[in-house]
Amino acid sequence: MAETLLELDDVHTFIGQHHILQGVTLAVRRDAVTVLLGRNGAGKTTTLRTIVGLLRPARGSVRLEGRPIHGLRPHAIVRRGIGFVPEGQGIFATLTVDENLRVARLGSDAGAPARLARVFELFPDLARFRAARAGTLSGGQKQMLSIARALVNPNRLLLVDEPSKGLAPIVIEHLVEALRAMKAHATVLLVEQNFAMAQALADDFYLIDDGRTVHHGPMAALVADDALKKRYLGI
């Protein structure tokens, strides 16, 4: 088995008085795509927000390459090589596409120009609309910009939260291709409701229910297990 890049051990997170994560334990293998599945409100987004430090776990640990990162502030966590693509894209609507990418770029190492070129190759629309305000882009283009922002840095781990949400099927297809291309460059932890998309991309799965990780294994095993799918995903 490949080495573990990211590890959560019995993570508990509160939002206000609500005990949202009640024991999330998971391990993300290096160079694999791991998908986090579960019903609405199960705690998938909260898990990602806890990893990047936007929420602090009340208990448990989050480790990147064996080193604890829980308790660090968000900027310090992502600077260890994590790219975060939030639900709802989180792009800066009043800034241009180019400015959105510039805000995201941290430092300029030798590989920066090549990564930017790769981003534009992956998402030709962004190259075309570089000078346009991001708020004027279509939903799909906004999602691409959000992913592109995570790709301009030499990130080891990408956290992608429901990239297909609210997008047309044809746009989703393009996204799947783009995410597949990303696999070659980074480890991905994906939250996704769209099972077909998850199936197309993921190597491993984790099922979250009521804030706890309840099942995990190779994606192929979940695809074959109708009872499990029906019980936790209703499909």
């Binding site: 990047v52 430090g53 936007l54 502030r73 968000p74 900027h75 310090a76 992502v78 600077r79 975060f84 939030p86 989180g90 800066f92 609507a93 009043t94 800034l95 400015e99 959105n100 510039r102 805000v103 995201a104 941290l106 922002r149 840095n153």
Partner: protein, 324 residues
């Protein structure tokens, strides 16, 4: 187009009083109005950025204004008593004196701003009620410290000779200092616009105004930018205080609180977080105040409030607001 409409509104509003006021008087009032607008802008610019980026309602901004005024006032008095720089009919010495006072006002604003942000604002990020209470508390403390240090009464400020009096241009009386204030306001606006549009720090601040959480998960230490913006805004409040003191030729401990009302009106009219909106809002407030004060003296502040209400009814997010 979106930006042209508010600008046209200002020009339209500015021309309206010509129907009721004699042109020579109108020009004098317009210059006074523009100057007042620019002085309010100095206060509002910091306030709008602090609110836009940090979501902090800083009621202590007015106290920093007063402290800036008193710091500059002290420099003016000391250098005039020891060296006679204010009374000397020399542009060079007068300008040097003004620069020294400006430096002192901004430095005091900046230092107090950093201390306030670190000590009392940081623990209450995201909690508006606490922010209002604690910054109002800080205002009381800072004002009382002024009363202890400089006394409770109004004091006359020595205006440098070159900036006193007026020019008489074809029967239009143009006061000198308001012209200085207008130029200074434009310079400050230009500098802020330059930093926001052309530098990386400015880019990050603009992005942070739109979505502070996202800025953090893109790897930027937002607290550093908070402190920087708070310090810069506080320095501008200090500068505004000194300029207002020279404009009104006096200082008094509560002067900041009075100006803060105007600054809040301007920030709301302009749209929270928008520096251009604040400039436009400040000019609207400054001009309308002067016109109305001439025509109907008792209605001056009331008209500003009414303007704010009308603008908010038409554009709930303010002239240039993003609706945050």
């Amino acid at each position: 187009m979106r930006r042209a409409a508010p600008a046209a509104l200002v020009v339209g509003l500015a021309l309206l009083p010509l129907a009721a006021i004699e042109p020579r008087v109108y020009l004098t009032l317009t210059i006074a109005g523009l100057a007042m607008g620019m002085l309010i802008f100095l206060v509002a610019a910091g306030l709008t950025l602090i609110f836009g980026l940090m979501d902090v309602l800083n009621f202590a901004h007015g106290a920093l204004f007063s402290w800036g005024a008193y710091a500059g006032f002290t420099v003016l008095v000391l250098l005039n008593e020891r060296l006679g720089w204010a009374e000397a009919p020399s542009l060079g010495l007068n300008a040097l004196l003004l620069l020294a006072a400006v430096a002192a006002a901004m430095a005091v604003g900046l230092v107090l701003g950093v201390v306030l942000e670190r000590v009392i604002v940081r623990p209450v990020y995201g909690r508006h009620m606490f922010q209002i209470l604690i910054t109002l508390g800080a205002t009381i403390v800072l004002e009382e410290l002024i009363r202890i240090g400089w006394g409770p009464n109004d004091q006359v400020l020595p205006v440098p000779f070159t900036f006193q009096g007026s020019w008489d241009l074809a029967d239009v009386i143009v006061l000198r200092f308001p012209v200085v204030a207008i130029v200074l306001g434009l310079v400050v606006y230009g500098a802020i616009a330059l930093v926001l549009r052309r530098t990386r720090v400015g880019l990050i601040v603009r992005a942070g105004v739109e979505n502070g959480e996202m800025i953090q998960v893109l790897g930027h230490d937002i607290h550093r930018y908070f402190t920087g913006v708070f310090a810069a805004g506080s320095a501008l409040a200090g500068l505004g205080g000194l300029m207002w003191a020279i404009f009104s030729q006096s200082v008094r401990p509560a002067m900041g609180g009075e100006q803060l009302i105007f600054a809040f009106i301007v920030v709301i009219i302009g749209g929270l977080g928008s520096v251009s909106g604040s400039l436009l809002g400040a000019l609207i407030v400054g001009l309308s105040y002067n016109y109305v004060a001439f025509l109907l003296p008792k209605a001056a502040i009331g008209v500003n409030m009414a303007l704010m209400v009308v603008i908010l009814l038409l554009r709930p997010a303010g002239l240039f607001g993003s609706g945050k």
